[in-house]
Amino acid sequence: MLNYIFGAIIILSVVFGIVTGNGSRLADSVIDGAKESVSLLTTMAGMMLLWSGIMEIASRGGFTKVIGKALSPVLNKLFKNVKKDSKALNYISMNVSANLLGLGNAATPFGLSAMSELHKLNNNDEKASDDMVTFVVMNTASIQIMPTMVGTLRQSYGSAAPFDILPCVWISSACALAVGLTLSKLLRR
């Protein structure tokens, strides 16, 4: 997918740029873009390292399990065909709590295990079950408590209060998740 997007962007911008007489700006943008991307990476590096370290402390202390326990009543309601204390629900709750903490790298393996358990419950059908749809929709919505990446980026571009967006992020995530989950329920047939 990205291969086509990348190719299309490059070809489109060269053709469009030359036709509209933006050729010299286009030439500058190649050099500036490359330079800028590396300086962005270096400004992000410190925060990424710091944050990964902090979150490692949290996950070694079992933060995900604590959150998972708190979430289990909600998850039980959402996934009706999954038994309480089953492997599937356990993986789902680990996936959700890792996502909440912004541990994307930890969330994906849990999520893949959850999918394989849900697939078994669905008799390995090649058609998705209701629970699988609900679970994937949850993972396409962002439920991160601390969007560190965005905060770091804002800071590196000189924001006065990089995290002042937090309440808006929470509201927006909650609304998006609510719509996603509602539709994943309503559109079942």
Partner: protein, 169 residues
């Protein structure tokens, strides 16, 4: 809100101490992972930022923005972030590149900058997640997943504008 970050770090540290986690060892191990992630995303970021910068310099994004201006204005939607709304579900790196572009042009504390930030923080790369999760179990019929997920993305775009307008302006 400015204390939330140090406060969160303190909470994690206290939690780690109670659970007898070797704080500094764990921190160092985690930070090592952090640099690995950074190295892993570096080529993507460089490639996509250059591509997006080229697209902007060619005048193409301006044209798109101008085309959607009447509709965006009518909806009260900042036209500067329309390209990002469109790219967000498809490519995480690409939308990050657009996000930094918005910061550069309008500033991270501008209205467009804030809305783009909220949008980036409250959405995921929808197509990627669907492909990875359903691909892992070889499920081809994903039924209503895509429509539900994309409606959620659209909701996020609308609530991003509304919440920033209500609480941050």
């Amino acid at each position: 809100m400015e204390f939330i970050m140090p406060l969160f770090i303190a909470v994690v540290a206290v939690f780690g101490l109670i659970k007898k986690v070797p704080l500094f060892d764990a921190f160092v191990a985690g930070a090592k992972d952090g640099i690995r992630i950074l190295v892993k995303i570096a080529p993507t970021i460089v490639g996509l930022i250059v591509a997006v910068d080229m697209l902007k310099a060619s005048g193409f994004t301006d044209m798109i923005c101008q085309t959607v201006t009447p509709l965006a204005d009518w909806l009260g939607f900042p036209k500067e972030i329309v390209p990002m709304v469109l790219l967000r579900p498809i490519s995480g790196g690409g939308s990050t590149a657009l996000l930094t572009n918005i910061y550069k042009d309008f500033g991270p504390d501008s209205f467009a900058g804030k809305v783009a930030s909220v949008l980036a923080g409250s959405t995921e790369t929808t197509f990627y997640a669907i492909a990875v999760y359903f691909g892992s179990v070889k499920v081809k019929k994903t039924r209503h997943t895509l429509i539900a997920a994309l409606s959620a993305d659209l909701t996020a775009a609308i609530t991003a504008v509304l919440s920033v307008r209500l609480f941050l302006n």
